[in-house]
């Protein structure tokens, strides 16, 4: 059976396994039942897509009434602010590998969570959802009791930046085909057909292949004591197909290629249909076989120019610019978990810190169609806006929430900007809302420039197509990233594969060395899983849109040491 560890098969995820979270899940025993799965009953399959699209068996009116009950109970217990999130979630996963179709998995859950403030501290209570007004009231009272028990040491004011009240807000991920309307047998047949195309690829050893798709559907109901009421239905697809071939020259090296046409993000079943797996998966397998025939050499330590694909750039963007610009880090609110940042304190670095070269413009949004973090409103009921994090390489903003945004009031007012949350929380049901990265974009350059053109202007360097998860210090600066395999560049030509490679740098130095970036024709979006230690069940998918880029004079080390 093809049970290859996820790391070896080259996941594009930047998540690294948090052993403690895994263990908490197994000791609690509940979320060990991992994976999201969608399933269709005989009854459901006989329904028309319209009927199914109506949603699950809960009555929306009942849920809205329960949400209001929670808020009433919170107020009656002394909360001056409260909000509530009800989540009905369903997911299905389908997987195939060389040994055939693995057992499909379906997961249903219904949850409710109440957040309340009595004085200046948040109290939160989350639980399984039961259609019982008394139980919901009790949950709200528990949240309030927690806020009270967590009263501050010293008197302070509670500052929560204002957000417009939303009345009967409604939003749905615009998908084409609800994956729940497609029988699981049909989904598996599509994947198995693609796998058959891989099996006929000529190679000295069988090509390894696997594909997994997880479909998720969330019904979210939000209400707050400020009067907001919002309903959203989000669809998320988490899909990946890989083909891998063992190197003929280095038996421990597995060359892995991802099927690029299979998209993850805010998509329905069309993501699978449009992936053209029979052709694209075979193409990925042929590419893996081609690479496996190439000679490899252990990289020579030195300073090199690097040309990075859009995918490699995306991983670096998240680790060294995205995460460090989470405002809770800069305000020292997360020093005991996530860490701090090289970009602090805000009042000293905003408008001044040169994080990257003038070519580096980084923006953020939660509106890009199909991108993983795209929503109508965040989990605090804030409508996210599009904003700029780096303008010509200079820091001009952070990733914010209602709790953290007030700290930037001075900066916003001085620049004629509104002091508001950018709407960057995730967490629904029994998860307390937490700050989380939105979709990120490294904006394309003004001129069209292909990867080959970027390579032509390199005397001594490497082309890096993908990276493994990076090692970064807790400020996001000192970084070392393993690169499983890279193509060496000599005088503008690709000359062969190098292995045992890691690149190392400090963040501002690296990004300031970016001297060319791709144009609009080279834009690609990766949907990456960004797991938050506080959020149990959400993959935290975000869309990271980047272009290839070239960075000069980066330290390359050899990881082949033996003692």
């Amino acid at each position: 059976m093809g049970q290859y560890s996820q790391e070896l098969l080259g996941s594009v995820s930047v998540r690294s396994l948090n052993r403690r979270d895994f263990l908490r899940a197994t000791s609690a025993g509940i979320t060990a039942l991992a994976g999201s799965q969608f399933f269709l009953t005989d009854w459901a399959r006989s329904q028309s897509p319209e009927a199914l699209a109506k949603g699950p068996s809960f009555d929306k009116g009942q849920l809205r009434a329960l949400a209001q009950k929670a808020l009433e109970a919170a107020r009656a217990s002394g909360a001056k602010f409260a909000d509530v999130r009800i989540l009905i979630a369903t997911s299905l996963s389908v997987n195939v590998s060389d040994s055939g179709a693995l057992a499909p998995y379906l997961w249903n859950r219904a949850e409710i969570g109440v957040r309340a403030v009595v004085d200046s501290t948040f109290g939160f209570a989350g639980d399984v959802l039961e259609l019982d007004a008394d139980k919901v009231a009790l949950l709200a009272q528990t949240a309030v009791a927690r806020s009270r028990a967590g009263h501050a040491r010293k008197a302070r004011s509670f500052e929560f930046v204002p957000a417009p009240v939303v009345i009967n807000g409604s939003w749905q991920t615009p998908i084409e085909i609800d994956p729940f309307t497609v029988p699981v047998g049909e989904q598996e047949a599509l994947l198995l057909d693609g796998l058959d195309a891989v099996k006929i690829v000529k190679a000295s050893e069988p090509v390894l292949a696997s594909c997994g798709v997880a479909w998720m559907r969330h019904e979210d109901i939000f209400a707050s004591t400020e009067g907001s009421t919002i309903e959203q239905r989000t669809y998320t697809a988490m899909a990946s197909a890989v083909a891998a071939a063992r190197s003929a020259h280095d038996k421990s090296l597995l060359l892995v290629r991802q099927v690029g046409s299979l998209r993850s993000g805010g998509y329905g079943y069309e993501a699978l249909r449009q992936a053209n797996l029979k052709t694209e998966w075979r193409r990925a397998a042929e590419e893996a076989v081609r690479l496996s025939a190439q000679r490899t050499k252990s990289v020579e330590v030195g300073r090199y120019d690097l040309v990075l694909s859009a995918a490699a750039t995306a991983n670096l963007l998240v680790a060294t610019i995205g995460h460090p610009l989470e405002l809770d880090r800069a305000l020292m609110l997360s020093t005991n978990d996530k860490g701090t940042t090289y970009a602090m304190p805000p009042d000293k670095v905003l408008g001044k810190l040169q994080v990257g070269s003038p070519l580096v413009n980084v923006t953020a949004n939660r509106s890009q169609p199909g991108a993983g973090a795209t929503v109508g409103w965040d989990s605090e009921g804030v409508k996210p806006d599009n904003f700029t994090l780096l303008r010509e390489g200079i820091l001009v903003d952070y990733v914010t929430t209602r709790e953290t945004a007030p700290a930037l009031r001075g900066w916003y007012e001085a620049h004629g900007q509104q002091t508001r949350s950018h709407g960057c929380t995730i967490g629904s049901g029994a998860d307390q809302p937490a700050l989380h990265l939105p979709n990120l974009t490294l904006n394309h350059g003004a001129t069209q420039i292909s990867v080959d053109e970027l390579i032509k202007d390199v005397k001594k360097g490497f082309f890096i197509d993908n990276t493994a998860p990076p090692s970064v210090d807790q400020t996001g600066s000192n970084t070392q990233i393993p690169v499983q395999v890279a193509e060496e560049i000599v005088n503008g030509q690709r000359t062969g594969l190098s292995t045992n490679m890691a690149i190392s740098f400090t963040t501002p130095q690296f990004w300031r060395g970016a001297d060319a970036i791709g144009g609009s024709e080279s834009i690609m979006t990766q949907n990456l899983e960004i797991q938050d230690p506080q959020i149990y069940n959400d993959l935290g998918l975000i869309g990271v849109t980047t272009v290839p880029m070239r960075v000069r004079k980066v330290n390359v080390t050899n990881t082949g040491k033996k003692s």
Partner: protein
């Protein structure tokens, strides 16, 4: 499930699971049913940030129906919820395109007994008032010391009942509570971190932990740079855990080793079972009855766990083997529970003894950003943090700037000079303090 914090009793869980089993058409099935709840309180900048908690219920069902498999779970354990689960999972199995199913490969019926892992003290410590008081007290200490601290207390309680058509029936419940704190000096140049955790929260001395973090922060202020390179290092147990824990995180899978893709693979083919991989004084093992690291023998695989060595006297004696792979190899499966103890069989040395015998070395409290650079040697890289000091001529002399390292736990476990007594270093490991020679630092970091 309701908000009143309690785990299902064994009879309650058994009743629900048996009820579920009785609704099945499938001849082969395994059910996991349980609930749990947690309480968490956090502070930052010496002030309370939030107090929260959540309760979860889950039932998971795996079936093999006429050679077709499927699985599913729900958090609705009402009659309707269980009906829906059975209906959906069995329907999923029927429509699944199975190819060559080998069934669920269920473990046999076996009895077991939990060690003491469920404590009322942890439930009491989970109450909001108790948590609020604890973190305010820790924040008070930091404030009085003129430092800025963040930290939190976190407790969980959970139960699990497993029932299978092969006759396996077992119930377990456990609690766990922990506190950690990061203290920083106002200059921003000093930082200290400390942690404590146990199944029995009365073993977690919050104020003591807070004081340790404060003490290290104070001593680590105004660090100076030293030249990176190879040094003798004394590594605190929590930092040893960060490195050796990566061995456990690989999964220790026999199948990966046989396929040629892991640190346990032989260059020429095959796996390294029987090969000496570390110093002969090293043992890496797990034991549900470990007094410092107790856990239920009832594993989430549905198999009962027993004391097992991965490495014994330096030799790789076992690797984990999934039921499916075990069937192919015609051997017994072996589960990795992700709990592990690192033992070095040598008379333990105290910290003072280790320092006194070090001419020039580095004392490391903690690592961060630890990531695998090369899976075939398990070469890791990361950065020191929260208290890194220079040792000169048998004395800890000054705080030093943090540095990036490049080492593998397998290299380190072959360069052992001394070891301390084992302690609980995290939720899932027991490690001793270690003294190691020729530990490689590759560069300086500005991070505090």
């Amino acid at each position: 499930m309701n908000v009143s914090q309690s785990v299902l009793s064994a009879p309650e869980a058994e009743r629900l699971a048996t009820d579920l089993l009785s609704r099945l058409h499938a001849k082969e099935a395994i059910i996991f049913l349980g609930n749990g709840f947690s309480g968490k309180a956090d502070f930052a900048n010496n002030e309370v940030r939030n107090v929260r908690g959540r309760a979860d219920t889950g039932v998971s069902l795996s079936v093999s129906l006429d050679g077709h498999e499927a699985a599913g779970s729900t958090n609705d354990v009402s009659t309707e919820g269980l009906d829906k689960l059975v209906d959906e999972v069995e329907s999923l199995a029927k429509h699944h395109r199975e190819t060559g199913s080998v069934g669920l490969l269920l473990g046999p019926a076996q009895s077991f007994k939990d060690p003491p892992i469920y404590f009322e003290s942890t439930l009491a410590a989970m109450l909001p008032q108790a948590q609020g008081d604890l973190i305010r007290s820790a924040a008070d200490l930091a404030d009085t010391a003129g430092q800025i601290a963040a930290g939190g207390v976190h407790s969980t309680a959970a139960c699990m009942f497993i029932l299978s058509t092969a006759g396996l029936k077992g119930y377990t419940r456990s609690t766990f509570g922990e506190f950690s704190m990061t203290a920083r000096t106002p200059s921003g140049t000093g930082s200290g971190w400390a942690w404590g955790g146990s199944e029995d929260f009365s073993n977690v001395r919050v104020n003591e932990i807070a004081r340790r973090a404060i003490e290290v922060a104070k001593r680590s202020e105004n660090p100076v740079a030293i030249e990176p390179g190879r040094y003798t290092v004394i590594i605190e147990p929590e930092a040893v855990d960060e490195l050796v824990g990566q061995i456990i995180i690989t999964g220790l899978r026999l199948q990966d080793a046989d396929s040629g893709y892991s640190v346990f693979s032989n260059k020429g083919g095959g796996n390294k079972l029987g090969v000496k991989m570390t110093d002969e004084r090293v043992q890496l093992l797990y034991d549900p009855m470990d007094p410092l690291l107790p856990f239920s023998p009832l594993s989430m695989s549905g198999r009962i766990l027993q004391r097992t060595h991965w490495i014994e006297r330096g030799i790789l004696t076992n690797l984990a083997c999934s039921p499916a792979y075990a069937r192919i190899l015609k051997r017994e499966p072996l589960i990795n529970p992700y709990f592990a103890r690192l033992e070095v069989t040598t008379p333990p040395q105290s910290l003072d003894e280790m320092v006194a015998s070090t001419k020039r070395g580095v004392w490391v409290h903690r690592f961060g950003g630890v990531t695998t650079m090369d899976p075939y040697t398990l070469l890791l890289s990361g950065i020191t943090r929260d208290g890194t000091f220079l040792i000169e001529n048998g004395k800890v002399t000054k705080p030093i700037k943090n540095m990036r390292f490049s080492e593998s736990p397998f290299f380190i476990l072959n360069k052992l000079e001394a070891a301390g007594s084992p302690v609980r270093s995290s939720l899932d490991m027991v490690c001793p303090r270690l003294k190691v020679s020729d530990f490689e630092f590759t560069g300086l970091s500005d991070a505090i």
